[in-house]
């Protein structure tokens, strides 16, 4: 982003008169607004896609009334949620009840900055990109825990604790899978990882060092699915077990913030998976639509495919019980993650 600011200053626009600090602040603010807008639009599209995909898989039609083929359904839902009364239980902790949606929105919003959108332009070219994303997603644990606590509701508290335990447990296999890729690139920088996969679909990390990277991709996919609290790991928000889990007592706009944050977390996780294993901004066909803004197209396309599989899984698999959840993380995914790490390390040495 520094190069963009410098090029703007060298040009003869009126922006050249402002000191670089103000320009940096303006661009940072614009970036934040852009991320929030992308989150909102993503929720708009993803909710509609989820309802339509789930409907077609269940041999029904889904939303059809509002707009042609029900396209405006999510918009109508958003307007309804905005107009709903904001009910906070009298015995709930008012300040924390108000604070938790902010935190849960901020965590995925901050993670968008480090992702590699195109070859040339990155919002924040962190050299610790992967590590930064991993540490920012741990903020959502606190948010969910506080949301569950502040509701002054047994089910919410249980749901919050289960969600926190689940996310914290599944961070470990996700981190191990990320380490497998980082070991092969030698850098935590997302742009470097995407560049190492440039040149066609046969260079993507998911096919290299077979089968270790493939298993690592599977581990990453399952672990990050659990981190978003998506089925089959959505026990914290299950209706039959915990009413609504940690967002039981949230109504109207605050509930929609939780949903927004969940879909944004899904997007972040899909983008990270696409960047680490599926090539990031590089196109599958070498040297075809591979430069400039096409990077965003390929990156978003791969993430969209992963999100489609998220929704596909939701309506295919039953929910895991909480002890099965923990068993899967600690006794299955973590040992396999270590095995992949060792395997790739040995293979790289030999």
């Amino acid at each position: 982003m520094q190069e963009l600011i410098q090029s703007l200053q060298n040009g003869q626009t009126f922006l050249a008169g402002l000191p670089p600090a103000i320009l940096t602040l303006i661009f940072m603010a614009l970036g934040a607004v852009l991320f929030a807008t992308v989150m909102a639009l993503n929720a708009l599209v993803a909710v509609y896609a989820e309802r339509k995909i789930s409907a077609w898989m269940q041999d029904r039609l889904g939303p059809m009334e509002v707009g042609p083929q029900g396209i405006l359904q999510t918009l109508a839902d958003a307007v309804k949620l905005l107009l709903k009364e904001d009910i906070v239980p009298a015995a709930a902790d008012q300040k924390l009840h108000w604070f938790a949606p902010f935190l849960v929105f901020a965590a995925p919003c901050a993670a968008f900055a480090a992702l590699p959108y195109t070859r040339e332009f990155v919002f924040a070219n962190f050299d610790i990109g992967v590590f930064y994303v991993a540490s920012i997603t741990s903020l959502s644990v606190i948010a969910i825990l506080i949301a569950g606590w502040a509701s002054n509701n047994k089910w919410a508290l249980l749901g919050g604790m289960r969600a926190a335990a689940q996310i914290v447990s599944y961070e470990i296999p996700a981190g191990l899978a990320m380490l497998v890729v980082v070991m092969q690139v030698g850098s935590l920088n997302f742009n470097a990882i995407s560049a190492a996969q440039d040149g066609g679909i046969h260079h993507w990390f998911v096919w290299r060092y077979f089968p270790f990277n493939f298993i690592a991709f599977g581990i990453f996919y399952i672990a990050t699915l659990a981190e978003c609290n998506r089925t089959p790991f959505d026990l914290p928000e299950a209706e039959s077990e915990l009413v609504g889990g940690f967002h039981t007592e949230y109504s109207g706009f605050k509930w929609s913030i939780f949903m927004l944050a969940e879909y944004a977390e899904m997007l972040v996780v899909a983008l990270v998976g696409a960047a680490l294993f599926l090539g990031g901004w590089s196109s599958p066909i070498p040297n075809f639509m591979n430069t400039g803004a096409w990077g965003v197209f390929w990156f978003a396309g791969k993430a969209a495919f992963l999100i489609f599989t998220h929704m596909w899984l939701r309506w295919t698999l039953p929910r895991l019980r909480v002890d099965q959840l923990m068993h899967l993380s600690w006794k299955v995914l973590t040992p396999f993650g270590f095995a992949c790490l060792l395997g790739v390390g040995l293979w790289m040495l030999i």
């Binding site: 940096t24 610790i128 606590w149 047994k154």
Partner: protein, 165 residues
């Protein structure tokens, strides 16, 4: 007063405000929230000093690990209907005098120390250097810390086992 100073004062003010909330609040969950913001403030200061890896580690370990542990401990050791712990202030006058004395000593020390001013150069990425140092110069402390963490892990698993002790 360039933008670096402005940013530093903002982050420092946020950290100090959060620390004040953490220390003076009567509700233990509010204390934990103040701690959360204070951790973020410290991570921000690490970033301003160019220690990017350390800032991310601070977030991952302190916020994602220690604060979650703290919150779990607090939430599971109270009844479900809010803080039953008695929090209040005792012996205000002697406490104030002692704190003022210690503050005076610390302030005098801070004022007298010649702090070396680091030049504000473009921060270099530290991850590579940290990795190299861990594997060459600081290998033995690294391995000892690993053994310590293993002991903690085994102890936690032992304490959390299912059969009655």
């Amino acid at each position: 007063m360039n933008s670096f100073d402005v940013m530093f004062y903002l982050i420092a003010a946020l950290t100090l405000l959060a620390a004040a909330v953490m220390v003076f609040s009567k509700n233990i969950i509010y204390n934990a929230m103040g701690l959360l913001v204070a951790f973020f403030g410290v991570a921000g200061i690490y970033v301003m000093l160019g220690a990017d890896f350390l800032a991310a580690t601070q977030l991952l370990i302190y916020v994602g690990g220690i604060l979650v542990l703290l919150l779990f401990g607090v939430m599971l050791s109270q009844r479900f209907t809010g803080a039953e712990m008695r929090t209040g202030t005792l012996q205000v006058l002697p406490a104030t005098l002692v704190c003022a004395g210690i503050a005076a000593i610390l302030l005098r020390m801070i004022w007298q120390t010649p702090w070396p001013k680091a030049e504000i150069a473009a921060p270099k990425p530290t991850t590579h250097e940290i990795g190299m140092q861990f594997m060459t110069t600081y290998l033995i402390p690294f391995e000892i810390v690993s053994v310590l963490l293993l002991a903690a892990l085994v102890g936690a698993a032992f304490l959390g086992r299912r059969d009655a002790r």
